[in-house]
Amino acid sequence: MTAFIEKLRRPARETSASGVERTPSPFWVMVQKEFGDHIRSWRFVILLAIVTLACAGSIYASITALKNGQSTEGGTDTSFLFLKMFTESDGSLPNFLTFLSFLAPLIGIAIGFDSVNSERNKGTLSRIMSQPVYRDDFLNAKFVAGLLLIAVVVFALGFLVMGMGLFTIGYPPTPEEFWRVFVTLIITTIYVGLWLNLALLFSVRFRQSATSALSGIAVWIFFLVFYGMIVNLIGNVTAPSDPSNAAAVINQQDWLMLLNRISPAYLFQEAASTLLLPDTRTLNPFITQDQAYLAINAPLSFGQSLLLVWPQVVAIIAETALSFAASYVAFMRQEIRSRS
């Protein structure tokens, strides 16, 4: 009897000990393959080159600025000098943060825009779907692989900038500064993930990858360039007729703020700059004289900064989840036929 049990156990143990590692679920196999495909693709290399160049340029600009001592005017001296690397610029090039918020969406779009429709057009989708895999695993794998890659890229860039900064200014970061950068990078990853999801949605929706790429880029440009303009326009139109009516003005500004905060780019800008500029004490454009006067002129602690941007972070995550849900629903309802 014991021998029999032993016999039963052995294959089970073999599969559980080494087998788990060797036969991962189809989901992880797909993630692995997607990840590999991305890394090997030319598109990724080009993208990485652009982003790296931009980062290197911005670092150069910020270091020149720091060396010239432009930043010490604010009176904060060397406090958070390390963080200034990410936000300062000598004016020749935008700073790191601006570059990141401008170019990061491009990474997401470039990774996601043809992920579903190209498989459909190549006829691989129906072949994969006829394997014993869940249909949603396919989309999830696309998302997870893309997000993993984005995380790797964003963190690699962030740490690269930190390292280069350390090397050139020779001023080590405090743990707080490190965590601020770290959390900013996490938020950046989520933000790029949002664009990845939008691109995924377009790739599910549009059969032609060119169409989905264009729509992705259109949305990107819309939010980065035009959205602010449109909100300003709305602001001008809806400005209260009586400028002395404080309540009306504040009400209108609140509305504009809300409108602005629909844009993920704006949310990200707010969240990231608050984290990287500890002096930011509030994101509300309206503070009373008393508030401004009585507020201690000191940087916020890390926890407080995080608390300040928490709504922004949640909003970005919510928008990400929303666009993923949309692509999920669209994908699950689509019929999978070969090349159609």
């Binding site: 060797r22 006829g123 691989t124 014993p132 999978i336 159609s340």
Partner: protein, 332 residues
Amino acid sequence: MEQAVIELNGLTKRYGEFTAVSGLNLSIRAGEIFGLLGPNGAGKTTTILMMLGLTEPSAGTATVCGIDATRNPMQVKRRVGYMPDDVGFYEDRTGLDNLVYTARLNRIPAKEARVRAEQMLEKVGLSEAAHKKTGAYSRGMRQRLGLADVLIKQPEVIILDEPTLGIDPEGVRELLTLIRDLSRNEGLTVLLSSHHLHQVQQICDRVGLFVGGKLIASGDLDALSRELDGGPTRLVEADIRGWTPELTDAIAAIEHVSGVTSGDADALDNAAAGDAGSVTVRVAGTADFTPQLASVIVGSGAELLGLRPMRYGLDEIYHRYFEGGDSRDRVH
């Protein structure tokens, strides 16, 4: 009768107003090669998708290996290999990589997947191209790789959607031989859809004729031709020189003969005969009448140049079905 491997009951699929498949009943036995035959847009692919649980039927059930395909598509997909028409591969990966990927999606451990993939490539004759990127594969190679891809999970049933589409005749012959051997040697049940009749005819045990979402006839060739409005089962073609109208009557008077047509022979055949005065006559009948036919022709003084008993081919059956029918609507 053996247990049916694929059992379709009243399977129906509607797209809005349009009915792609309507009330399909079909059962396919184990080890059989079944040909699903029909013009484009007849609903063949939709039927196949429903068998795999990739599309939900509007009504009816599809049971594969005793499993309801709509409810448990995962279990069905584990046992059924499906090759879509115009199968695609990841073009920047090698053929071997593509197969290993499929195998791993079927939870085959990486090492074994590689071994199996190599075996499969050997089987379909692609060993030399194993390390070539599939983007460089020819159409025929892609189809063979598709077959390997289907077989690597060691399925009980394989479903091939238009496997011979777009390959040259020699490639078709090889592919079909391969499919038949697989079915015979490994007891695989094969369902293949096609609109190439003579190809299906070569390897299928049974065929189902599929038009406008309905299965209008199914069975082996004899059964099929019998099912067709009691159509003739024998067809003899005769090349005759010195044709006279009286001969027509004489031939028509032979026992079992049900119809005589003349003059509609292929121009190509006539040219091959190399004889301007000869006429090709097609005689249809319900039982064997060839000896009588020969003696009647010779007895009438005409010269009998050739006498060919014809199998009543699928082409004929197909043609009879579609002439006058409104089955030409293309769906996709």
